[in-house]
Amino acid sequence: MKIKVIVTLKEGVLDPQGKAIQQTLNGMSFSEVKQVRQGKYFDIEVNIEDEKKAKAKVEEMCKKLLANLVIEDYKIL
C-alpha cells in the first residue's frame, strides 16, 4: 500500500524559500497571502497490507531518515 508523508519546517524555524515564494505571490498581486511555508512530500509504497502496521513502519522511517526532528515535523496522511 501507499503511504503519503509531508515534512515541513517546524514553526519558528526560518524558511527563506517559503518567504521568497510569499513575496513573489504578493508581488503578483496575491495580496491576501500572509505566509508560505515550503515542505516536502513523499509517496512511499510498502509491501505491507495492514494500514496500521504500514504507518508504524513509515513513522520509523520519518524519525530515522525522512525528517530531521531538530528542525522538521512530519505528518503521515
Partner: protein
C-alpha cells in the same frame, strides 16, 4: 600521525584535504564510504562537497553510509573527527553534533573568504594556536547554523562554540554574519571537544600563491598538539 579522509560520492574537497594533511606531516589515507572499516587513524576527516547530491537534506544520506558506524565508534571512543562544510553537515545528521544547518538566509550560494574567530579552549584543534582570527574560505548553500534556545545555552555553557564569523579584528557582529547562523556560529565542538564541525575550509588556505595561508596555522597547530 595517521589520518583518514572519507570519500563519499559527491565529495569534492577530499583531495585538497589530503594535500593539506600531507603537507603538515600526516600520513594520510583515503577511505571509500562503502568500506567496512577505517584503517588505524589518529584523525578522521569528513571532507567538503555535495555527498549524494545533497538529496533529501545535506549530509542525510551520507550519514547512513556503511563507513559511518566506524566513524561514530571512533568518535565515541574519543578519536578526533573533523567535518568541514559538507562534512559538518554529515556530522550533524549522524547526531554526533547538535543542531542543524539550514539554507543560507538570503538563499544564495556563498563563495568567498571570511574571517573567523577561534575559541582557543583546551581542544586539540585550537589550543596554543598562534592566531585568534583566521582568514578562511567558505563555499556553501546550507551553512545557516540553527539550534533551539536550550541547545544554544547548552553549547555556551559547555564552551562548545568553536568558530564564529567575524570582522578582520575579531568583531563578532551581525554585519559579518554571511549566512544567518545563530550568533555567527561557523563551527562547533561536541561536549568532549574531540569532534569539530565547521563550514570554513582551512584546507583551501594553505598556499599563499593560490589563495592565502591562514589554514597553515590550523594544520601546523593540530599536528603539534597530537604529537
Amino acid at each position: 600521525m595517521k589520518s583518514s579522509v572519507i570519500i563519499f560520492p559527491g565529495s569534492n574537497c577530499d583531495r585538497d584535504m589530503d594535500v593539506a594533511l600531507k603537507k603538515f606531516g600526516f600520513k594520510n589515507q583515503m577511505v571509500w564510504h562503502n568500506d567496512p572499516e577505517i584503517p588505524k587513524s589518529d584523525l578522521i576527516v569528513l571532507p567538503g562537497g555535495f555527498a549524494y547530491g545533497d538529496y533529501l537534506r545535506c549530509g542525510s544520506i551520507a550519514a547512513k553510509s556503511k563507513i559511518i558506524k566506524s566513524v561514530v565508534d571512533f568518535a565515541n571512543s574519543g578519536g578526533l573527527v573533523i567535518g568541514i562544510c559538507n562534512g559538518f553537515q554529515i556530522l550533524i545528521e549522524t547526531g554526533l553534533l547538535p543542531g542543524a544547518l539550514l539554507t543560507n538566509k538570503y538563499l544564495k550560494f556563498i563563495c568567498k573568504n571570511v574571517f573567523v574567530k577561534l575559541n582557543k579552549n583546551e581542544s586539540k584543534y585550537f589550543k596554543n594556536i598562534k592566531k585568534n582570527v583566521l582568514e578562511l574560505h567558505i563555499a556553501h548553500n546550507d551553512g545557516n547554523y540553527f539550534c533551539s534556545k536550550d541547545e544554544l545555552k547548552s553549547l555556551e555553557d559547555n564552551n562548545q562554540i568553536a568558530v564564529n564569523y567575524c570582522g578582520q579584528n575579531g568583531e563578532v557582529t551581525e554585519k559579518f554574519n554571511p549566512n544567518g547562523s545563530i550568533n555567527n556560529i561557523a563551527g562547533i565542538f561536541n561536549k568532549n571537544k574531540n569532534i569539530i564541525g565547521m563550514m570554513p575550509h582551512p584546507e583551501r588556505m594553505i598556499d599563499k600563491y593560490l589563495s592565502s595561508n591562514d589554514g597553515n596555522f590550523f594544520f601546523e597547530n593540530l599536528i603539534k598538539n597530537l604529537k
